[in-house]
Structures are given as structure tokens and as C-alpha cells.
């Protein structure tokens, strides 16, 4: 291979040279690279969103908690506890090096698959009576959805695969087949629950990781096209989820039945107006809107905080997501960049789908709103995921590090040796 050194390469070489020299200073005495501090903007955004979310759980849930349990702060106290634990989990997760996540990627995937199989076994998996779907595993002290772990498993394994097949991602054999196989297994198990929204999210995140990982866009386009055609055939010609589509197009066609939830959500959002009814002043949570502290918590946010408050919260989410991608863009290595992208995309998809559902932009399906929706294990997993991004952020080489402060900083951070 003839060496081609042009200006760009040379500049690049120079930059890398400088970069490398600088990074060398970041190695500690044990020869391991020293890590930067966690990305402060992401931490702040996460904590702000989490705080607002937990407080909103209080507002949204106290009516139902009062009427059904008798203790208005029941859900809030639990959620707040999980939030505190979640913050710890986040910082803990940020301490692990990304390499370790890469090592455990396929193990997590394996656990996910096992959990997804377990949840299908009657007696282990539980579900809500009204949907008939089996999505939860009861751990005694709490319940969790294996699909939440599966999301992490898919992100980690896809990122790892994209690193392993780095050069071959453009081929069908390496760029599509292994990913497709994993997705087929995971989604297949999810469909058995059934868990449509989980499947969509995992397919979305998986697809995005393939896309970023370097799979040729034509393959993705082809797969996307096939999926689209299949979806249209399913809905238009085979009548799959026809009721759901009909309700989506006109929720008022069955206001007390299938359209009830959507209508109640629209009432909540619409009556919020520009400035909202005020925090805690919402009315729809008084046993009108179902799932008001779960999937439909954003409707209560809109009702109480109005358009201004809702847009502000969406803005915070947008900042969080942009910061996540920013970290991915600045990640030191390919794997870190991919997992940061995957997790950020996961949040983006969940936020978008959740708000789209509660505003009836999309047909009704169960997607929770990260940091807002009530649910302990889901929150822990979300915080863990943020922790992973933070872990990636910590490996971004420090631009300015004062020589004399290295030790102090190390000590104060209590860096793991």
C-alpha cells in the first residue's frame, strides 16, 4: 500500500501527535489511562429532569394513591427512593471503564435472552390483566421488565459487534446478518409476550446502531422498506391492529371504550393551555386519565404546567439528547461512541414515542417517559444507562489539565486504580 501523505493527513498526523502527547500525560503511574471527570452538563441535565420527573410523579399519582391505597404519597415515596438509588447507580456505572462494558456486552445480551424466555413461562412472568401481555418478572421486592435489560443488551452487543466487524460492516454478511440474527431472537421473544412498543424501540435502536456502525445505508433502506411494506400489508390488508388505527384517527368514535385513554389524555393536555392549571392543580388525574403517573404522566405535565412548561421539559430532554450525541461524537473510541449513540437514541425514541402517543400523534401504545414515568427498576436501568454515557464521557481526553492539580483531582475523585 503506497503511502499517500497529503496535507490533510499531515495535519491530521500533527494533531494526533499532539493529542497523543497530551494523552500520554493522562496515564497514571500504573500505566492505565487516567480518566476525566464525568460530563457535568449531562449530569446536571439528568438530575434536573429526574427531579422534575419525581416531583411530577407526586402530583400525578397522589389522587389515585389516595383513592385506591389511601396514602397519597405512596408512589412518590417509592419513586423518590428509586431516584436516590438511581443517582448512586449512575455514578457507579460511570466508574466502570467502557472496556468493561464491551467485555460484558454479550453476557448482558445472554441474560436478556434468558430473562425474555423466563418471562414467557407462566408463574414467573406476570402481566396486566387488561392487556393479557406477560412483560414483568416479579422479584419479590419489585418487578422489572426484561425488555428494559434487553435494550441495554442490544446496545452493548451491537456496539461490540460493530467494533469487531469494523472493517467489514459494509458487507452484508457481517454488517447485517449477525445484527439481524440478534434482533430476530430478541424481537421474536418480545412478540411472544407480546410487547409491540418494546419491539419497535429495540428495532429502532438496533437499526440506528447498525447505521452508525457502518452498515450500508442501502441494506438498511432495504430492510426499512421491507418492514414498511410489511407493516402496511399487516395494517391495511390484513386488518392487524385495525381498531387501534381507527381509534388513533378518531378517538371520539369510541369515547368510553378504546378511545377513552386517548381522549382523557387530550383533555388533560388541551385544558392546560398556555400556562397550565398550576402545579398540583390538575384535574384529569382524579381518576379520569388512566396510567396518569405511568405512561401518561406527560399529559399531566401539560395540564398543570401548560404549553410553556411542557416545551421547557421537552427542551431539557432535547439538551440531554444533544449532549449524549455530543459525548458520542467526542468519545475516545469507537465502542464508547457507539454505546453513547445507542443509549442516547434509546432515550430519544422513548421520549418521542411517549409524547407522540399521549398527544395522539401516534397510535396508542405503552411507552414510558424516561425519568418521569413511575417505575423503580426502569428508572434504575435508565440511570444506569446515563451512567454508561458518563463512563464514555470520562474517557474523553481532558483538554486542559493543570499538572499540579492531577493528584488532587485524582484523590478527590477517588479514582479506581
Amino acid at each position: 500500500m503506497p503511502e499517500k501523505i497529503d496535507y490533510f493527513d499531515r495535519v491530521s498526523e500533527n494533531r494526533e501527535q499532539k493529542y497523543h502527547e497530551r494523552s500520554l500525560r493522562n496515564y497514571n503511574s500504573a500505566g492505565r489511562q487516567k480518566r476525566s471527570a464525568v460530563d457535568l452538563p449531562l449530569v446536571v441535565l439528568t438530575l434536573v429532569i429526574l427531579t422534575i420527573g419525581v416531583v411530577m410523579v407526586l402530583s400525578a399519582s397522589y389522587a389515585r394513591a389516595y383513592y385506591t391505597i389511601g396514602n397519597p404519597t405512596n408512589y412518590f415515596v417509592r419513586q423518590a427512593g428509586f431516584a436516590v438509588a438511581g443517582v448512586a447507580v449512575m455514578f457507579l456505572a460511570s466508574r466502570f471503564r467502557t472496556g468493561m462494558y464491551r467485555r460484558f456486552a454479550f453476557i448482558v445480551l445472554g441474560i436478556s435472552i434468558v430473562a425474555l424466555i423466563l418471562v414467557l413461562i407462566p408463574g414467573i412472568g406476570t402481566g396486566k390483566e387488561e392487556t393479557g401481555a406477560q412483560r414483568w418478572i416479579d422479584l419479590g421486592f419489585t418487578t422489572f421488565q426484561p425488555s428494559e435489560i434487553a435494550k441495554v443488551g442490544v446496545i452493548l452487543s451491537f456496539s461490540a459487534l460493530a467494533c469487531i466487524y469494523k472493517e467489514k460492516m459494509k458487507t452484508f454478511k457481517y454488517g447485517v446478518v449477525p445484527f439481524g440474527a440478534i434482533l430476530a431472537v430478541i424481537v421474536g421473544l418480545l412478540v411472544l409476550e407480546p410487547h409491540l412498543s418494546g419491539s419497535i424501540i429495540i428495532i429502532g435502536v438496533g437499526g440506528v446502531l447498525m447505521f452508525v456502525g457502518g452498515t450500508k445505508t442501502k441494506w438498511l433502506a432495504a430492510i426499512g422498506g421491507i418492514a414498511l411494506v410489511a407493516g402496511i400489508i399487516l395494517i391495511r390488508f390484513l386488518g392487524y391492529a385495525e381498531d387501534r388505527i381507527e381509534i388513533w384517527r378518531n378517538p371520539f368514535s369510541d369515547p368510553t371504550g378504546d378511545g377513552y385513554q386517548t381522549i382523557q389524555s387530550l383533555y388533560a393536555i388541551g385544558s392546560g393551555g398556555l400556562l397550565g392549571l398550576g402545579f398540583g392543580q390538575g384535574r384529569q388525574k382524579f381518576l379520569y386519565l388512566p396510567e396518569e403517573h405511568n405512561d401518561f404522566i406527560f399529559s399531566i405535565v401539560c395540564e398543570e404546567l401548560g404549553f410553556v412548561g411542557a416545551v421547557f421539559i421537552l427542551f431539557l430532554f432535547a439538551l440531554l439528547i444533544i449532549r449524549g450525541y455530543w459525548i458520542a461524537l467526542h468519545a475516545r473510541d469507537r465502542f464508547g461512541s457507539l454505546i453513547a449513540t445507542g443509549i442516547t437514541t434509546l432515550f430519544a425514541i422513548q421520549v418521542f414515542l411517549n409524547v407522540a402517543v399521549v398527544t395522539n400523534l401516534f397510535p396508542c401504545t405503552g411507552v414510558s417517559l424516561p425519568f418521569f414515568s413511575y417505575g423503580g427498576t426502569a428508572l434504575l436501568i435508565q440511570m444506569f444507562e446515563i451512567g454508561i454515557i458518563l463512563s464514555v464521557s470520562r474517557e474523553i481526553p481532558m483538554k486542559k489539565i493543570k499538572e499540579n492539580s492531577i493528584e488532587t483531582e485524582r484523590l478527590s475523585r477517588g479514582d479506581v486504580e
Binding site: 494526533e16 497523543h20 494523552s23 389522587a63 389516595y66 383513592y67 469494523k166 440506528v208 447505521f211 452508525v212 456502525g213 457502518g214 387530550l266 383533555y267 388533560a268 393536555i269 388541551g270 385544558s271 392546560g272 393551555g273 398556555l274 398540583g280 392543580q281 384535574r283 384529569q284 382524579f286 381518576l287 379520569y288 401539560c302 401548560g306 404549553f307 411542557a310 416545551v311 421537552l314 427542551f315 432535547a318 439528547i321 444533544i322 450525541y325 455530543w326 458520542a328 461524537l329 468519545a331 475516545r332 473510541d333 469507537r334 465502542f335 461512541s337 457507539l338 449513540t341 442516547t344 437514541t345 430519544a348 425514541i349 421520549v351 418521542f352 409524547v355 407522540a356 398527544t359 400523534l361
Partner: protein, 761 residues
């Protein structure tokens, strides 16, 4: 070093990752959120009002503030119909279950406070999905208070007490057919209550409060909306409760006296304005309990065991008692209609007051194969127009009718409002039935015209007749009968005031005056068939009628009649008309069945009561003064001679018992009303002990004979001014029956009437 560098490089993201991640950042971090914000904008800003309204609609519980229905007053401001606050009680079995309340406790509380059946309450509690089970309506505030207490004592949230209003009729059955009643939902079903429902009904207000999805009060939120109730407007009627009561009393008495089979009715109307002062119809009913039938009917019903039959009979009895005979039933008016024939004849110029008519007992009419008989088969001979009316001579009136001619007759009949409903503001007015013009106008067959001349072969309602007669006597102008005079809004604004001005002229004033003169003679003249309507002190006119009920007869084959009398007073300036109809008096009373014998005295009774009540002054004739009731003056303590003189002044004689100088006692006592010319006993010494005497039989005696008979028995007589000196009149009714023992000196009230034969063909 080289290895490390390449390893570093290997680990760094490549260009594809960078550009694709950047792309994602833009799509997921910016574009997606723009879409969401746009969607939120449409819902929260653009469609805000729609969703807010819808949401509030479901989030609020409305509590009704019932509006009071307007009050119905009589012309003097007496309350005929009022709305009062009441309460209704309902049970929410859903809440009973929701709050875990004991069905037994609820049933106990409801049965103890409201008297509700425990079993039925328990049965209602079983339907746990129901929110609203009515337990009781129209509960008074005292009972509601007791229930409220018991409710809070037992902390029962499933029992609800709601405000409501109830219609009350303080006078019970008085003027029931005019006033009408309201249904359980508060809308008028009959009479004025139905016709003026729009005015009477108010607009209910409400309070909207936030409520949770399970119906309980919301824990937070400040939204509350209060819309005050607007009460209904008040009505002031032309009906006078006093006149109404007197009229009902007299008609009821007549129905009893003459054993009237199918009830009767009476209308008292101001002939100058059309204002109806009283409207009575029998059977009647209690407005406060309009479904209940009379005790006799109920006793009859109680014998029926079959449920369907029971309901059918009950329904029939209810419909009958609700039926306003004065408006809803048509009849052949008979001789009372001769008033109208007379007016048409005089006004059209067909006859003059100076004309004379010969009645040979019958006459032949073109187109009629049998001769037409006068009710007096021997004939009335030659008679003046007034005499013809006094005799109610059919032959004379057929002649008048034939002179008028069919076309003119119909022309006037229409002007007198006999072809159309009067339009009186009451429910259930029936229309009239007349021959079609081609039959009536047939020159080859005058039998229809002939019969119509004396009020047969067509059907009109009593209200049409009295309205036509009013026009005939009030100076000749048509008035429209009405009951509601003013409608006043709750804030005192008059929303409606009846314009009682006459509508148009039917006959000339002169004709009207002539008709009045003749009608007065029917009552005042010796030969008049309406003599029994006379009331001492008043100038009364009128016309009798006895109409055969076509196709109806008693079981023994005897004919059924409607007897009627339309009286007018005072005749110097007619203002009040009274029409009384008695449907099917029985033969058992021994009187001739005729308007003159039965309806005329009833009208007389009504006039005797209402004219003084309405403030008409009495002016007695010489003849009347000799027979009217006078109040015995107090002469105790006077010298005997002075006392006698005092009594003489009052039209009474004196008999002095004892040998003292001053009157120590008198019999009858001061203030007693007795017929003039009787002898008052004055005791100058000690009054003898109370003695008792047996009431003699007075039936069939004349006035003089009766006074003498009573004097012998030591009793006194009064006639309540209903005797005016008619020597032909005999007593047919006495207040204490013969053979009854009473205290000496008691006053016996008697009713006299001349047994007048008239009017039946």
C-alpha cells in the same frame, strides 16, 4: 510507540460514525422535538378551548338549584297554586359499596325516617353499579331534616338529599278544572298550569363543582360555577276564590237536591269583559291529589278484584273528574238559546218588540212530516214577544226563526261566535257542531232552521253559549272569555295583561236593551218560566232551558234531559252572567224536570251569594220587603211598647208575654234572621224554661201557610232572600226535617219554588 499510536487510532471513531451520529443528533435532538412541540401547540393553544370545555364537562358535578314555579293568584291576590321547597331522596348503591356502608343500616335509616319499605330499599342496594335510585320525592323539610340527622349520625354517604319544589293548592279542589295540575316532573298537565306552563316554569340554576372520576368531591381545584335559578312568572286570574266557592257550593247542592246523574257545571262571567269569575264542573277533584277519585268511586273500585279492570275503571273515573264539562262537552242548548234567536230577530228587523205571536199548541213546518208541537200542547194562545219568551213558547220562536231566515240566522250565529271556539285560555275547549249550509239553507226543508230557533239539533259548549248571551245583553258587543288577567315576572314586571275590550259589535245597543228587558220579565213576570231564579233585592234576568239528550234515556225508558239556566244581573246595567247546567236530574225528586225548576233556583242561589259579595247593593220592592229576611233587633231592656215599635220598624210583629214594664228577654234572640211579618215574643217577666218542639212538615206549603204552621209550633222561618213574593211558589226543601225535635224559637230555613212546567217538546 508506533503500535500504541495505531491502537489509539483504531479505537477512535471513524468518519462514518461521526457524520452519521451528527445526523442522528439533528434528527433525534432537534427535528423530533420540533414535531412534538408543533403537536403540543395544536392541542394546547389552537384547540385549547374545545378540550377545556369537554374536560370541564366531565370534571364537574352539577347540582340543580330548582326554580320556583310561578304562583297562581285569584283576582284578589289569594294563592290558588304555590310552589314550596321540598326534597327528594335518592340512594347510590355504587357509593354504598364503594364506601363499604351497611345496606341494613341504610334500609333502617330510610324506613325509619321516610317510612320507605325496608325490603324495597334492600332490593335497590343490590344493583351496585347504579348511581341513582330514587327513594322518595316531595319530602317536606322536617322529614328531610330528620333524615339528614340520621345520615350524618351513621355517616352514610350513599344517601343523597336533593332540593326540589312541590306544587301546592291551598284551596284543594277549588276551581280545579281551571287551575289544572302539574305532573311529578313539574310540568303543567291540565288547565292553566298546562296552558301557561311556559310562563309559570322558571329556569333551574345549578352549581358546578369539580368532582373526581368516581363522583366524589375533588381534593384540589378551585373551579366553581354558580348559575342562579330564575323563578317562573306569577299569574293573576280573573277567578274569584269567593265567587268560585259559592258557585261550587250551589251547584253541588243542586246536584244533591235534584239527584243529578251526570254532574253539572256553572260559569260565572263578567259580560262586559269576558272575565270568568268562577268555573265549576262536577265531578271535581283535589288538585293536591289529582289521581285520587271520590270516596264513593273508591269504594266502588275496592270491590273490583281484577287488576286490569280496576285500572281501567280508575282511569275512566280520573278522566271524568278531570274533564271540564263547561268547555269540553257540547250539548243542545235548548230554550236558553231563544235569547240568541230573540236577539237575531230583533237586530235583523225580522221582528219587533210590539209583534204578537199565536200558539195553537202545534204548527207545521215545511219539510217536516210531523207537526211541530209546543211544549204546552194546549197552546199559549196569543202572546206578545215578551210573553212568548216568558212562556218559552216553541211555536212563537219557530215563527221568529222562519222570519229571520236560514242565511241571516247563520250569519248572526257566526257573529255570536257559535261556529268557532271562544278561544278562552283554558285547556280542552271543544268545537261546536252545526248543520252544513246546504242542509240548513235548503228552502225546501225548514225543519233544521225551525229546531235551531229553539236551540235544538246543533251542539255548542256552555262557554260558547254564555259568551253569546253576554254579547246579547252587554250592549251588543262580543267579548272573549278569559281566565288569566296578568302575568307578572318575579321582579314585578308585568309581562302580559289581558286586553278585555270588546272585540266587535254583534247587535245594536237598542236590540241588546230589548233583549235585557224581555229576559228580566222571564224572571220577574208572573208568567215567566224563570221565576225561581229571583233574588230579593236584585233585578235578575235570564232564560231557562231544558234540552232532551238525543238518544239517551233512563233504564225505564224515561227521557234524559240537561236542564240549564242562564241568569243575568243586575238588569239595570248587566254585568254578571251565570250559566248553570245540570246533566240528567232524576225523576225521583217529584219536581218537573226543567231548567226553570232546577237550574233557575240554582242560579238564584248563586246570585244571592255572589252579588252581595261582589258589592252590589240590594234594592227591595214593596212586595219583597214584606217577605225578606230581617234581622231581629235587640230590644231587651226597652219598655215593652218601645220594643214593639222597634220591631214594627223592622217589619216584625211583637207578642208581649208577662206583666213587667221592660223587656227582659226575647225570642228569637237579637241578630237572628227571620222572614218579615213574623211575631217576636217579648218576655217582660222571667223567661220560661227552654222547651222543645217537633218540626212540622212544610213541604208543599206556600210561604204564608208555612209561616203560620211554624208559628203554631213556636218556630220561625227564613228564606235567605230567595223568596220574592211569588204566591205560586211552594216549599220543596226545609233545613230541619219534619219530625225532628228542636228548641222552641229555632229558625227553619226553607226553599220555595214554583213548580214550573216548560220547555220540553
Amino acid at each position: 510507540m508506533k503500535y500504541q499510536r495505531s491502537a489509539e487510532r483504531d479505537m477512535r471513531p471513524n468518519r462514518t460514525i461521526l457524520s452519521r451520529t451528527l445526523f442522528l443528533m439533528i434528527v433525534c435532538g432537534i427535528v423530533a422535538f420540533i414535531i412534538l412541540v408543533a403537536k403540543l401547540y395544536t392541542i394546547q393553544i389552537r384547540d385549547h378551548e374545545f378540550y377545556e370545555t369537554q374536560a370541564l364537562d366531565q370534571q364537574t358535578n352539577e347540582t340543580k338549584i330548582p326554580a320556583f314555579r310561578g304562583t297562581i293568584y285569584d283576582r284578589n291576590g289569594n294563592e290558588l297554586a304555590v310552589s314550596v321547597t321540598s326534597y327528594s331522596v335518592y340512594l347510590s348503591p355504587y357509593e354504598l359499596k364503594y364506601y363499604g356502608e351497611s345496606a341494613d343500616t341504610v334500609a333502617d335509616v330510610l324506613s325509619q325516617t321516610l317510612g320507605a319499605s325496608r325490603e324495597s330499599v334492600l332490593k335497590k342496594t343490590e344493583d351496585v353499579s347504579a348511581w341513582y335510585k330514587t327513594i322518595a320525592v316531595k319530602i317536606d323539610s322536617e322529614t328531610a331534616g330528620k333524615l339528614r340527622e340520621a345520615k350524618s349520625e351513621n355517616n352514610l354517604k350513599s344517601i343523597h338529599i336533593e332540593n326540589d319544589t312541590t306544587r301546592q293548592y291551598p284551596y284543594g279542589s277549588l276551581a280545579c278544572h281551571a287551575i289544572g295540575f302539574v305532573g311529578t316532573d313539574g310540568t303543567g298537565l291540565e288547565g292553566i298550569e298546562a296552558l301557561y306552563d311556559e310562563y309559570l316554569t322558571g329556569v333551574d340554576g345549578n352549581v358546578s363543582r369539580l368532582a373526581a372520576g368516581n363522583g366524589t368531591e375533588m381534593l384540589s381545584g378551585t373551579y366553581e360555577q354558580y348559575i342562579d335559578a330564575v323563578d317562573g312568572s306569577d299569574l293573576t286570574l280573573t277567578i274569584d276564590a269567593g265567587v268560585q266557592r259559592m258557585t261550587e257550593k250551589c251547584v253541588k247542592q243542586a246536584i244533591e237536591d235534584y239527584d243529578v246523574q251526570n254532574g253539572g257545571c256553572a260559569i260565572v262571567m263578567n259580560v262586559k269583559t269576558g272575565a270568568i269569575l268562577a268555573l265549576a264542573s262536577f265531578d271535581n277533584y283535589d288538585l293536591n291529589d289529582y289521581r285520587s277519585v271520590s270516596d264513593e268511586k273508591q269504594a266502588e273500585l275496592d270491590k273490583i278484584t281484577d287488576r286490569d279492570e280496576y285500572n281501567a275503571v280508575l282511569r275512566e273515573a280520573q278522566l271524568k273528574q278531570w274533564r271540564n264539562m263547561a268547555l269540553s262537552d257540547t250539548y243542545e242548548p235548548g230554550s236558553v238559546f231563544k235569547t240568541i234567536t230573540l236577539a237575531i230577530g230583533l237586530d235583523s228587523g225580522a221582528i219587533k218588540t210590539s209583534d204578537s205571536f199565536y200558539c195553537g199548541g202545534s204548527m207545521s213546518v215545511l219539510g217536516r212530516n210531523k207537526p211541530l208541537n209546543c211544549w204546552r200542547h194546549s197552546g199559549h194562545g196569543s202572546q206578545s214577544l215578551a210573553q212568548a219568551a216568558q212562556h218559552s213558547c216553541n211555536v212563537a220562536f219557530v215563527n221568529i226563526g222562519l222570519r229571520i231566515g236560514a242565511e241571516t240566522f247563520y250569519e248572526y250565529a257566526e257573529k255570536f261566535g257559535l261556529f268557532n271556539k271562544t278561544g278562552v285560555d283554558l285547556i280542552g275547549e271543544a268545537g261546536s257542531q252545526w248543520w252544513s249550509e246546504d242542509v240548513f239553507f235548503n228552502p225546501e226543508n225548514l225543519s233544521q232552521l225551525a229546531a235551531a230557533s229553539f236551540g235544538q239539533t246543533f251542539n255548542i259548549t256552555p262557554i260558547q253559549l254564555i259568551t253569546a248571551v253576554s254579547a246579547a245583553v252587554n250592549g251588543g258587543e262580543m267579548v272573549k272569555p278569559y281566565v288569566v288577567d296578568t302575568v307578572t315576572s318575579p321582579d314585578g314586571v308585568v309581562e302580559y295583561k289581558k286586553d278585555s275590550a270588546p272585540e266587535y259589535r254583534v247587535i245594536s245597543e237598542e236590540t241588546s236593551q230589548a233583549v235585557c228587558d224581555i229576559l228580566e220579565s222571564v224572571v220577574a213576570d208572573k208568567e215567566g218560566t224563570g221565576k225561581n231564579a229571583a233574588v230579593a233585592g236584585y233585578r235578575i234576568g235570564g232564560k231557562t232551558g231544558t234540552s232532551e239528550k238525543t238518544g239517551k234515556s233512563f233504564e225505564n225508558g224515561e227521557k234524559e234531559y240537561i236542564v240549564s239556566f242562564c241568569g243575568i244581573a243586575p238588569m239595570d246595567d248587566p254585568e254578571i252572567a251565570v250559566l248553570v247546567l245540570l246533566d240528567t236530574p232524576s225523576y225521583s225528586t217529584g219536581l218537573y224536570i226543567s231548567g226553570g225548576n232546577m237550574a233557575a233556583p240554582t242560579v238564584g242561589n248563586i246570585f244571592a251569594d255572589i252579588l252581595p259579595y261582589l258589592g252590589y247593593e240590594k234594592t227591595y220592592t214593596e212586595e219583597e220587603l214584606a217577605v225578606i229576611d230581617v234581622a231581629v233587633p235587640d230590644v231587651t231592656g226597652m219598655a215593652a211598647s218601645d220594643a214593639a215599635a222597634e220591631l214594627k220598624k223592622a217589619g216584625l210583629n211583637a207578642q208581649i208575654v208577662g206583666d213587667g214594664d221592660t223587656v227582659a228577654d226575647q225570642l228569637p234572640p237579637a241578630g237572628a234572621e227571620i222572614s218579615a211579618g213574623q211575631t217576636v215574643v217579648l218576655y217582660t217577666g222571667a223567661r220560661p224554661d227552654e222547651t222543645q218542639t217537633v218540626v212540622p212538615d212544610l213541604i208543599g206549603l206556600t210561604f204564608e201557610e208555612a209561616i203560620n204552621t211554624l208559628e203554631r209550633a213556636g218556630l220561625y222561618m227564613m228564606t235567605a232572600d230567595l223568596y220574592t213574593g211569588n204566591e205560586e211558589a211552594i216549599i220543596w226543601k226545609q233545613s230541619a226535617q219534619s219530625g225532628v225535635t228542636v228548641d222552641s224559637g229555632s229558625v227553619i230555613e226553607v226553599a220555595l219554588a214554583e213548580n214550573v212546567d216548560e220547555g220540553i217538546e
